[in-house]
Structure formats: structure tokens, C-alpha cells
Symmetry: C2
Subunit: 340 residues, 2 copies
């Protein structure tokens, strides 16, 4: 008998789905990207889903329910934006154990609705049930895009530029901070955690946003990425997805990795390697994308994203080029739900 952790999430999904053949002409793309792609009279429908489990994906000792509801929606919207689509509808299913009251669930929904309102998305259905232990949240998002607009993971080509929005590693350092304060406060009443000067990394962990603004800026500048995905499992893991699915290699420059000041300060305080946090931290929900070299001047105009590397031929592999010009092979050490 094989342990599931021996395969990891992607190995498990590969194994389970590799032999499945679609039968409907409206199924353009199934498993293997941020969203499935469905055809409806020329318009494409995008579908994506995420399952969030208490004790695995979130810890209610430091995550307010409203933030959790907001984040549960945002992580799905992020997948639709990562295909260059527009999210339109969501369904939300909940499993709720006995320790939750109606007020708790209202609080959770206030966050769900806040995200719906901000991103112009409709809640159109769901399923609600008791659970034996803990809170279970399953969100599915339906989006739309025209065929020509959709950006997959498999379109990166040799000489393309690699870009990323925002900054990386902050959500991960926010989680480390929350975890440290949780341990420090164990058993204490009226413990006041000290979060001064660390608001940004906390917000990145507790209330991430989907980068609709990046999609809008790309459109306004006339940039059509050749490949794109959102950074949910960590930059390393996402870069390797692009390299594998596009059959290319890449060079990422350490000095070009965008990192916020608070992220750096927190890493130093906790004596953690900053580049490792930025490369493998996860939950950034930034957009990682590639553009043709001819778009260099346009990319340099972007306010929401920056150049961080280039795509190479596949035989050159995927490497991080350090400040002292050493080349470190990029490995997926991303957050793995089977090794929490």
C-alpha cells in the first residue's frame, strides 16, 4: 500500500487523471491549469475550485472568520485572473462542526460577501452540512474569457521574459509571525501580541487580494502574456510548472526578486533565509507571467509587475542566479498539503 504523501498532491492528481478522456466538445481543457476551460458558443467558461480545511489550511486561533471567508473567495478569483479571465460567479459549500454558532457563520459570510462585492462576483449556490470536526470550506469559481484572451501555462518560449507582480514571501513571513505569537501566548490570558510595524506581512497572510489590477494594466499596455499562473504554492513550484508545461528552462535573478522591507525584517528577526522564503513561501497570490522579448519596453512601464528573469531552451534547466553569479537549481519545495 502506498502512502499518499509519497506522491504529493501533483503526483496524486497526475495519477488519478492521466487516463481520463473528455467526451464533451464543450470541454476545451480539463485538469492541469489554474482553471478548466469550457466552450459556450465561442465564449470560454473558466472553472476552478479550492478546498480549505481547518487544521490544514487555516488555524482559527489566529485567523478571524471574516478574513477566512474573504481569503477563501480570493484564492479562487486569483486562479481565474491567472488565465486572464474575469470571475463572475462562485459557489460556497460549508461543513460546520458543533462548536460554530450562527454568529460565527455570519462572520464568515461577511468576508465572503466583502470579496464578492469588491470583485464583482455573484454567489450562486452551495451546500451546507454539519461536520464531525472542524470547518470545511469548498469554493468553486466560474469565470469567462474570450478564446483569444486566455493565457495558459504552456505558452512560454525561449527568450521570453519572466515577470512577477507585487512582492514575494510576505504571506509566509506573516504566517511565521502569527505562529510565533500563538506559541508565545499559549495559556496566557489577555496576551497582547506585538504586531507594530508588521501590518503588511500580516495583511498579506490574512487578507490577500487577487491581482485584477495586474490584468488590467497588462491590457492597458497591450501586453498579452505567453504563459501565466498565480503564485499560490511558492515561486519555485510555479516556475517549474511553466518550465514543464511549456517545455522550456529559465534563469531567475536573485537581485530581481521583489521583497518587501517588512518581509526582510521579519526573516532577519526569525533568523530565516530570506530568498528561501521568497522562492518557496507560498500564498502570495501574485501573478507570474512570461512575455515575448519584444515587449521589454512595455514591461518596463508596468507599475504592478517587474522583470525577474528569462526563459531558456529546456536543456538549460531552471536556475536561480545569485548575486555572486552562482547558479542554484530551482526545486519545488513549495507548500505541500500532504506535508503540512
Amino acid at each position: 500500500m502506498a502512502e499518499i504523501s509519497s506522491l504529493g498532491e501533483f503526483g496524486l492528481i497526475d495519477m488519478l487523471t492521466k487516463d481520463f478522456k473528455s467526451v464533451n466538445t464543450s470541454t476545451i481543457k480539463g485538469v492541469g491549469d489554474d482553471c478548466a476551460i469550457l466552450d459556450h458558443e465561442g465564449k470560454r467558461t473558466l472553472v476552478t475550485t479550492d478546498l480549505l480545511l481547518e487544521g490544514i489550511h487555516f488555524d482559527l486561533t489566529y485567523v478571524p472568520l471574516k478574513h477566512l471567508g474573504y481569503k477563501a473567495v480570493v484564492v479562487n478569483l486569483s486562479d481565474v485572473y491567472a488565465m486572464n479571465g474575469t470571475p463572475r460567479q462562485i459557489t460556497v459549500s460549508l461543513g460546520i462542526s458543533k462548536r460554530f454558532t450562527v454568529e460565527h457563520i455570519n462572520e464568515l459570510y461577511s468576508g465572503i460577501y466583502a470579496a464578492c462585492e469588491r470583485y464583482g462576483v455573484d454567489l450562486v449556490g452551495g451546500d451546507t452540512s454539519a461536520s464531525v470536526t472542524g470547518l470545511i470550506i469548498s469554493v468553486t469559481c466560474i469565470g469567462e474569457a474570450s478564446e483569444k484572451d486566455i493565457v495558459r501555462r504552456d505558452g512560454a518560449r525561449d527568450t521570453d521574459l519572466v515577470c512577477v507582480s507585487g512582492d514575494l514571501g510576505a504571506a509566509y513571513m506573516g504566517l511565521q509571525l502569527l505562529e510565533r505569537e500563538r506559541v508565545a501566548s499559549a495559556g496566557m490570558k489577555d496576551f497582547q501580541p506585538d504586531f507594530a510595524g508588521k501590518e503588511y506581512i500580516l495583511e498579506r497572510q490574512l487578507k490577500p487580494e487577487a491581482r485584477r489590477d495586474v490584468i488590467e494594466e497588462l491590457r492597458s499596455l497591450g501586453i498579452h502574456p505567453t504563459a501565466m499562473l498565480d503564485v499560490s504554492d511558492g515561486l519555485s513550484s510555479e516556475l517549474l510548472h511553466i518550465c514543464k508545461q511549456s517545455n522550456v528552462g529559465c534563469r531567475i535573478y536573485e537581485e530581481r526578486i521583489p521583497i518587501d522591507y517588512q518581509t526582510a525584517t521579519m526573516a532577519e528577526e526569525l533568523n530565516m533565509n530570506l530568498v528561501t522564503a521568497a522562492m518557496n513561501g507560498g500564498e502570495d497570490y501574485e501573478l507570474l507571467f512570461t512575455v515575448p522579448l519584444t515587449d521589454l519596453s512595455k514591461v518596463e512601464l508596468m507599475k504592478t509587475a517587474r522583470l525577474m528573469g528569462r526563459i531558456t531552451k529546456p536543456e538549460l534547466g531552471a536556475y536561480l542566479v545569485t548575486r555572486d553569479e552562482a547558479e542554484l537549481e530551482i526545486k519545488a519545495q513549495g507548500w505541500n498539503a500532504f506535508h503540512p
Copy 2:
């Protein structure tokens, strides 16, 4: 603080969704029917989702994983057929605790794929993660229908006929049988449960089918129901949904409730009330629908469904007419996931 069980599932959903307003023109119908209805260039997209939790919705001591996978898909397809639509795609998200091996998950997926193959549905995505305890299955189904074909719950009118497919109460009696054998076998090795002559009720519980054949027969006879839904929570509960949403009453005739011989035998063996089981058992996944009185002769030709009552003015209420012509008010005593 209010206990969630004080509201029940429908009360909770009502409370959570009553103030939400859709913003997208493609959102035709959100919460409150078997599926949401989305508009894509005139074609309607249907979306429905179900969350199945170990210890609440299924017990792996007597449900084989393959059957569970099959059923998890079928219950979603049933919701699409209940709108007179055609299911096209599903997503499947899993939460998996440590006691499950890769072989277990393959077994579950073999059932998922068997259902996909039988009903011509594509698996297009999902999310897979560890869980702290037990197995969690979240399935979302996307279907399609033309606008004119869609049947909602709110179209029943005074004098319409009430019809139901197949027979009722069998899945519930199958569950009672499994439960009895589980208790009887507790602590015994090599216990051989006696299921002879009870195959039908077991299959109804363990491997239900979605009634595509009923939809096909309705079409071939040129019958367009005025309201329809699938019987998942029990006939009483579903009848009240139609009455409430269509603003009508109904009379259902006890002698017209379709019940299989094995269901009746099992109820007698267990000393349970047969009509209660048929009215409130749940998990039948039959189609309950109403048709105009003028379709009476067509309905009488149906092989998959039968007439069981009629729609009345709302002030006449919803009543079961017994064999001795007493009238019993129909109350929703359906299976409630908050009182498992």
C-alpha cells in the same frame, strides 16, 4: 449565540443569502434551486455542488469506496437533470486523512470515472489536500440547457398534476439494513451479513442512478413539466419546496406513492412505518415534477413515472390523503444534515 441546528440547513442558507444581490448579467438564477443558472450567449449554464463528509453523509464501514465515488457524482448529475438540463463537466475536490492509501483513492476514483463514463460527463478539475480526520468529497457539476427547456421549482400552478419517477423509500430502508448489519457484526470476525432478497434496497442506497431516462421519456412524449426537482431530502421536503416556491398547495394520495416490494418487506421486518419511510426517507434521487392537467393522457403513457397527486390553491395547504381518506398535513421531516 444561536445553535446552527436551530435554523436547519435551509434556514441557515436563507439567512446567509437573502440579502445578496447579483451584479453580473450572466447570473440568471443564484441560490434556491437545484442549480444556479448562468447565461452564456443564450445557452444556459447550470452549476450545482455537493459536499459529502465522512461520518455525516457516509460510513465507510459499509460503503465501498468505489460506490461512494459513483454516488458523489450521481447526486450532482441528478440536480442538473432536475432542471431538465444535460450535465457536461464535474470538478472533484478531496480532503484525505492519513489512513487512506493511494489504492483507496484509486478505488474512489474508479467509481467517479464509472459515473462520468455512464453519463457522458468530463472531469475537468479539482483540488486535493490532506485532512485532519476522515474523507471529504466536494463535487461541482456544470451542465447546459437552452432557456426554453429549463424547469425550475416555481412554475407549478393550481390543477397541475404531481408525478414522481421510480419508487420511494428504498434507499432509506437500504441504509437501515446496512446499519442493522453493522451493529450485528460489531466485534465479530468474518461476519457474513445476510442480504439475500434485499439487493434492490442495497443498490438504491449504495449505487443510486440519476434519472436521465425520465428526462428522455418526458422529451419523447412532448411533456414539459411546470416544476421539477430531485428527491434527495425526502418526498415531503421536496413537495413543500414546490408548494412554497410556486405558491400553491397539493394533495398527494397515499395509495399512489410508488413503493417497491423489498422496501415494504424491510419496513415490516424492522417494524417501521412504510409511508413515513417513503415520504421522508431521502436519497431516492427520483424526479418529482408537475405537469399541466392537459398532459394527463401523455403522463399515463410514461413508463418511468406515475401520477401521485395534484396541485391546489395555496390556501388549501399541502396534505397527504390516506387510504381511508383522512388528510394528514405534509411536514418536512426530511433528512437534515444538522441532525444526523
